[in-house]
Symmetry: C2
Subunit: 411 residues, 2 copies
């Protein structure tokens, strides 16, 4: 063991202003450091039931089946798709960024037939496009990202939900990056299944994926319900329908674990449960609408400040997420070198980009615990210094002034 590894790891102080993860709310860190209790302890069951009720509030739904998957947000997506889709099923996916590609890729691994609606990066899909794709392809499911941090775009979902409802198609939504910072109305928008993560506007770490399923989605999943050989009674049938291809992400079995039957499945990641419960509690104490408004105001201040740094904002301004802003890297400036200086000298992290936007834009996040005035102002002040030193032309002081003016006008 090297000398370093003999010591406990203590992470350096960082202000995380990228597309996520971001800094946790200190109350969430405290929740995670609690000692464990047993998996079927009555207090554990109560905590699980609390988490179900709290996430109904966060996701604005009455869905009884609202619970946690023990994985990062990506695992929540796979759990929904693998449980909803059987081989050969048809799916339509609007792709307007990297996470749309991910939905396609996961659906393909479920052996589904996927039809993509290609949307130029920086824009969102229109309901007419979806209606047309559904009419032509006849899918069982539409899978859509709400906020795609890769492009900073937020897909309006109410109209898509109506289209799907009219045509009798299930609508799954990955709202990981948007939940808590942008309106998300599971029931009002007629979403059949939603999955999220904690590490964006919910002010927690990655590692737990809340999901919610409406009655229709539950019926589809339950039709493929199985009980493990080591658990079922001697006279009990193993199950019905083709097996869901993943054991770990089999939502029918996970519902047996979170439901009345309390059938053992995985060993619940108790620390992440405590933490997920606390993320939801904090958000509901503030109020979902108030939290969204806080993200809108702080995200707006950041955007105003970045524009005043003589940086051009990326993407359709009508559909930007509240919690992440893309800006073009100025011509001739080494974007990665600047990010390294900002991190090493100021302890502040902003985001790079993927795929077609790699090297073209930075992504600046304002979310969760960091959707705060001081975090916005410190980031703008420090970024200004780095840009100046890199030779970028800007008006010193203008960024913070613009952000402050934005706060004043919003007050």
């Amino acid at each position: 063991m090297s000398p370093d590894m003999q010591e406990a790891f203590v992470p350096p102080a960082r202000l995380l202003m990228g597309p996520g993860p971001i800094n946790c709310d200190p109350r969430v860190l405290r929740a995670m450091s609690h000692q464990l209790i047993g998996q079927f302890d009555p207090e554990m069951t109560r905590c699980m039931n609390d988490a179900m009720a709290l996430y109904r509030g966060v996701l604005r739904t009455g869905n009884p089946w609202t619970f946690l998957v023990d994985s990062t947000a990506r695992g929540g997506i796979e759990a929904c798709l693998a449980s909803l889709l059987a081989p050969g099923d048809r799916v339509v996916v609007p792709v307007f960024g990297r996470f749309g590609h991910l939905l396609v890729e996961i659906a393909q691994r479920c052996a589904a037939q996927v039809r993509v609606i290609e949307v130029p990066w920086g824009e969102v899909a229109r309901p007419e496009q979806l209606a047309e794709a559904i009419d032509r392809f006849g899918p069982k499911l539409v899978a859509c990202v709400q906020g795609d941090t890769s492009t900073t775009m937020c897909q309006p979902l109410a109209d898509l939900g109506q289209v799907c409802a009219d045509k009798g198609v299930l609508l799954y939504c990955d709202a990981t990056a948007s939940v808590g910072g942008n309106a998300l109305e599971t029931d009002a928008w007629q979403l059949s299944a939603v999955s999220v993560g904690l590490q964006k506007c919910l002010a927690g770490p990655s590692g737990s994926a809340p999901v919610s399923l409406n009655e229709e989605a539950v019926a589809v999943i339950r039709a493929r319900h199985h009980v493990e050989a080591g658990l079922r009674g001697a006279d009990e049938a193993p199950g019905s329908g083709p097996r869901i291809q993943s054991n770990y992400f089999d939502l029918a079995m996970i519902m047996d674990y979170w439901g009345e039957r309390r059938l053992n499945h995985h060993t619940e990641a108790a620390s992440m449960l405590f933490c997920a419960r606390e993320c939801a509690r904090i958000l509901l104490r503030e109020g979902v609408d108030a939290a969204v408004e806080r993200h809108r105001i702080n995200g707006g201040a950041m955007a105003a400040g970045l524009a005043a740094l003589n940086l051009r904002l990326y993407g359709d301004p009508d559909h930007r997420m509240n919690n992440v802003v893309g800006v073009y890297i100025p011509d001739g400036l080494d974007g990665e070198a600047l990010r390294r200086v900002l991190l090493a000298d100021f302890g502040i992290e902003i985001g790079t980009s993927f795929g077609p936007l790699d090297g073209l834009i930075w992504r600046v996040g304002v979310m969760g615990y960091n959707a705060r005035r001081d975090a916005v102002l410190v980031t703008l002040a420090s970024l200004e210094q780095c840009l100046l030193r890199a030779g970028h032309r800007l008006s010193p002081g203008a960024a913070v002034a613009a952000a402050l003016a934005h706060y004043d006008s919003a007050a």
Copy 2:
């Protein structure tokens, strides 16, 4: 929101002496409460590399590909099997408890052909049985549990490893419940792939699954390597071989994330990473051999004490795990009622059982942070009181005396 849910959840004090999860080492809880850093921060990369090196020590291997899967231990099993097995591949699984059934079930969901070696519960598989099954069935892989908490049996693996090596078959081992409390020699025993969890003898919570792959296993997995559409370069081929059926558990992609390339996959569950690193560090500071010996002594003291409570021990005494002891519930005694009293009045949890042992035995764990003299003695003293009140005939004081005598003889 009900008044309860408006408050932070504070778990009650519990001494967890079941088959796991158990209480965390306080240093692990502290590690988990650290503030986050960015996913590609140099300090994050260092922490990930530390974890890889530390788990090589824990698993006694030189395998470069030793890393974490972001799920509970069950997800680590699925990641190994789904990445190693393509549809139609043949697998042999010795089943001597519930977790053997789980391996069968997961392998079947990977569309593999599974041949079971049925072993009576309370015993372990013999190398001749394995050799014969391999000769008859010609599998690509043997999948085996080391310590199956459902029966408290610990499968000897050195001989099975030799059989597999001689016959050119891969050997995967689920060592979740045994690692740290029983000898586990990944390299010396010629294991191709191993996965574990933190919530047993490693004194951590459920939620991270360390895995290790030898060169052969890596070659099998890499033959099906793919890069996601949203990430790969314009000229890059998508990949080779049939796709691994899970995106989340695609170890080839997870290796791209943990390796030099640092290709984004999931968002690393940083808090669980900090915690996993600390679990390994603590174990290596003590020394793996010393930790195994501690489990052997404390587990032995518990077994001696339980026998002195006039309880009959379960299973083949030559193959008991060090860290969990099964005892028959005395005739006419309501096992669940006693467990409830022990929990409610004494704050101590012991385990119930599954499947064929349901209602027949209790399982008492002595593991990780709780493999301590005080935890053993307090459990025996409290259990004695509950048994006495339930009318069980025993010699008061004999259990603690037997445990103390065991400690003396081991000193």
